[in-house]
Subunit: 159 residues, 2 copies
């Protein structure tokens, strides 16, 4: 059996084999790696993994409402409040009233937020280039395409 104490090699192989078996678990481990490196990338900019995506969406969709942001990012409206609070507190975005509907907040980048977003986007691009350096451009396109198909199919199936 395995009474011999040559643990390192045999156990690493067992771990790798386990990693091989389930795609879902592999996705989890990949996210772990991405999350850690992404955190190191964003902290110097005063951002977190959880504020990067909302900032990206506001940058690309000026005037978007909190509910719409909630839909796009698939987080609850109560979670959006906390994230928008934080981004507003660091001066990256601001809530503005909407002319026709006094319930709604329209979210806009500030000037400082625009600069921050430029830095963050470049930093995350570099982070992904670094992390996925072993993959060819075709590999990268493929992985994006495959994941997107899984996500979009599943999310549409829920509606």
């Amino acid at each position: 059996m395995s009474d011999t104490p040559k643990d390192d090699v045999s156990e690493d192989t067992a771990a790798d084999r386990f990693l091989q078996q389930f795609t879902g678990y592999r996705i989890k481990r990949a996210l772990l790696v991405v999350h850690e490196d992404m955190t190191e990338t964003l902290v110097p900019l005063g951002l977190r993994v959880g504020t990067f995506a909302p900032l990206a969406v506001v940058a690309a969709n000026p005037g978007i409402s909190q509910t719409k942001l909630s839909d796009v990012l698939k987080i609850k409206r109560s979670g959006v409040v906390a994230v928008v609070d934080e981004l507003e507190r660091i001066g990256a975005i601001e809530r503005k009233p909407v002319a026709g509907d006094r319930r709604t907040n329209a979210l806009f980048m500030t000037t400082a937020g625009g600069r921050l977003w430029q830095q963050a986007e470049a930093a995350i691009q570099a982070h992904e280039d670094r992390l996925f350096t072993d993959l060819t451009d075709e590999d990268n396109d493929q992985i994006r395409d495959l994941l997107s198909r899984v996500i979009l199919r599943a999310e549409r199936a829920k509606e």
Copy 2:
């Protein structure tokens, strides 16, 4: 600009485009989809996403120690305690003393745990077949290979 209220189409496209841009964010969204479907799959068996992987590792590595399990799954030893407690409480695995070292626990499946694992493995296999049904076998191999390369490279870089 975007004063026209034809939100649905244009906003969905914006969301999709955002989803396209960053591989890391796509991995997160994919995990969200996987996690949700996996939970529905495991709950009827009395398992959770967080107990499935440890069960799989113990099934494949009878007698593994908690510290080794911690290494393989990349979770802290304190986290292992809770998970092993839970799996032991539902009668799936058991801690056994190790002859040469009274500090260490050896983890083994119970007979009931073996049956549970058989069911769980089949259920998760079906869940992945269902979730990744749009992908060809080659696509599946590719996605596994690409993710594994990213993970193994990053994890080895940390050592």
